[in-house]
Symmetry: C2
Subunit: 294 residues, 2 copies
C-alpha cells in the first residue's frame, strides 16, 4: 500500500512554524504581517475560500483585512481599491478572490496588482521570474505540491514527472518548476493535456504523476506505474447522498485502485487542498519579511 | 531524404514582408520604426551580432541607434542609458547586447527595461505573459522556431514534442509555447536536460525534436524516429581547417546521419540562426505598431 501524503498534517505543521515565526517577529518589535483580500459578490464558494483565508490569518497571528463589494462595482472602482492596497504600507500582500464579474477584465486587475504584494503569484512578473528561476511568489497549488514533496523527502532528480493538465495556475507552473535545476525539481517533465493522444502510455512512464485536469477519477490503475508517486490536484464537487451537504469532493485519481500500486499518494480531500491555504500564508510571511524583492 | 527547412530563405521572405509594411507605414505618414541597441565592450562576437542587427534594420527600412560603451561603464551609467531609451518616444524597442561585464548585474539591467520596449523578450513580464498565453514579445530563437514550423505548415496538434535543453532563452520558453493551445502548439511536450536519464528513448518518441543544449552533434541517427521533424538550435564554434576563419558552426544534430531518417530538418548554419535576426525585426515592428501592449 502507498504511503498517504497527509496534506492536512503537513499544513498544520507548517502553520505552527509560521505562527512561531510571527510570534518572534512581533516580540522583536516588527510589524504584524498583514494580508488583505478583495471579494466581489456573494458566490458561496468564493466566500468560503475567503473566510478560510481570514481564519488562517488569525490562526498564525497575521492581521487581515477584507474589502467586500457588490457585483455592481465598476472596473475603475475595483482598480482604485487595488491601487489603495498597493500603496498602503501596512498591507504586505493581498489577493483579489477570483472569479470576478464578467464586466471587469480579470487580467487587467491581476496586472494592476503590485508584483511585490502579489501573494497569489498570478502577476506576469512573478510567473516570468518563476520561469527564469528567480525568487518569486509561487501560486498556491504548485507551491503546495512542492512543499509536500519536500516534506516527504521524495527524490526528484532525474525522475520522469508527468503533469496532466495545462492550466495557468497549476499545470503549466508546476511543470516548469519540476524541470528546474533545484530540489524539488531536476525532473524530465512531460506536460499532457486534452490534445495528448497517448496519455495512458505517458502516465505509465511517470515516476511522479501530477493529475491536474479536473476530471474526476480520470487516472485509473492501468495508467500508473508500480511504485510511482501520485499527486492528485483534482477537486471536483460531485453530487452525493452520503454527505449532509449533498456533494462530495472527487480527485482526478481513482484513489482506491491506484493506492495499492503506487509508493506515495495524496488523498482528496486532505492532500494538496490544505496546502494551498498554507502557501498563501507562506507568501504573505515572505512579503512581510521582504524576502523576495528586498 | 528529409526536406530541408531553409531558414535563410524564410528569413529573407519575412524580411521582404516587413520592408513592404514599413514602406507603406511611412507612405501613410507614420513614424519610421526605430530599434536601438546598447553594446558594452569590444567582444568580437557581440560586435558581429550587433552589426548584423543594424544592417538588418537598414534593409527593412528601420531607423537604428547604437549606444556603445567601454567595459568601464558603471551599472548606474548603464541603467541611466536604459532609462533614457525607455523614455525616448522615438525609440520603439531596444536591446542590451549580452553578455555585459561581470560588475554589472545582468538581471537588474534586463528588469530595468520597459517591458513595452523589451524586443528581446527577456523581461519577466514578457516571459510571464508567454506562460499565460497573452500577447508578448517572444525571445528570438523560440519565435524563429515557431515561424519555421508555420512557414512549412508542419502539423503540431497532438504531436509529441521533445525539447532537449532547458535554457531560459530557448529550451524553457519553446517548451511552454509548443504546449500552448494554439498553432504552432497543442503538442504533448517533454523537456529533457542534463539530468534526464533516458534521453535516447525520449528523443526516439518525438514527432518533433528540438535540440537546444549546445552539444555539437549530440543527436545521432539512433535517437531520431523515422519521419520526425528535427529542429537544431545548436551553434557551437568548433576549430576547423576547412574554413578561412579557422572555425565552423556545428549544430546539436549529426546532420548527415539524421537527414536521411527524418521528414524535415534545419541545417546549421542556415536553419534557425537566420530566423533569430528576423524575430528581432518582427518584435520591433510590433512595438512600432503598438500591437502587444496597445
Amino acid at each position: 500500500m502507498a504511503q498517504i501524503i497527509d496534506g492536512k498534517l503537513v499544513a498544520s505543521e507548517i502553520k505552527k512554524e509560521i505562527a512561531a515565526e510571527v510570534a518572534s517577529m512581533i516580540k522583536s518589535g516588527q510589524k504584524q504581517p498583514h494580508l488583505a483580500a478583495i471579494l466581489v459578490g456573494n458566490d458561496g464558494v468564493s466566500e468560503t475560500y475567503v473566510n478560510y483565508k481570514i481564519k488562517d490569518c488569525a490562526e498564525v497571528g497575521f492581521k487581515s483585512t477584507l474589502a467586500r463589494f457588490d457585483t455592481t462595482i465598476t472596473e475603475d472602482e475595483l482598480l482604485a481599491k487595488v491601487h489603495e492596497f498597493n500603496t498602503d504600507d501596512d498591507i504586505d500582500g493581498f489577493i483579489v478572490q477570483l472569479p470576478i464579474p464578467d464586466h471587469i477584465r480579470e487580467q487587467k486587475v491581476i496586472e494592476s496588482i503590485n508584483p511585490l504584494k502579489d501573494v497569489d503569484g498570478f502577476h506576469p512578473v512573478n510567473l516570468g521570474r518563476l520561469v527564469i528561476g528567480l525568487p518569486c511568489y509561487l501560486s498556491a497549488t504548485p507551491a503546495g505540491i512542492l512543499d509536500l514533496i519536500k516534506w516527504y523527502k521524495i527524490e526528484t532528480k532525474g525522475k520522469h514527472c508527468v503533469v496532466i493538465g495545462r492550466s495557468n495556475i497549476v499545470g503549466k507552473p508546476v511543470s516548469i518548476l519540476m524541470g528546474q535545476k533545484s530540489y524539488p525539481g531536476d525532473c524530465t517533465v512531460s506536460l499532457c493535456h486534452s490534445r495528448t493522444t497517448n496519455i495512458q502510455e505517458l502516465a505509465l512512464s511517470a515516476d511522479i504523476l501530477i493529475a491536474a485536469m479536473g476530471k474526476p477519477e480520470f487516472v485509473t490503475r492501468n495508467m500508473v506505474k508500480e511504485g510511482a508517486v501520485v499527486i492528485d490536484v483534482g477537486t471536483t464537487r460531485v453530487p452525493s447522498n452520503e454527505t449532509k451537504s449533498g456533494f462530495k469532493l472527487k480527485g482526478d485519481v481513482k484513489y482506491d485502485e491506484v493506492a495499492g500500486k503506487c509508493s506515495f499518494i495524496t488523498p482528496v480531500p486532505g492532500g494538496v487542498g490544505p496546502m494551498t491555504r498554507v502557501s498563501l500564508l507562506k507568501n504573505t510571511l515572505r512579503a512581510a519579511k521582504k524576502e523576495i524583492y528586498g
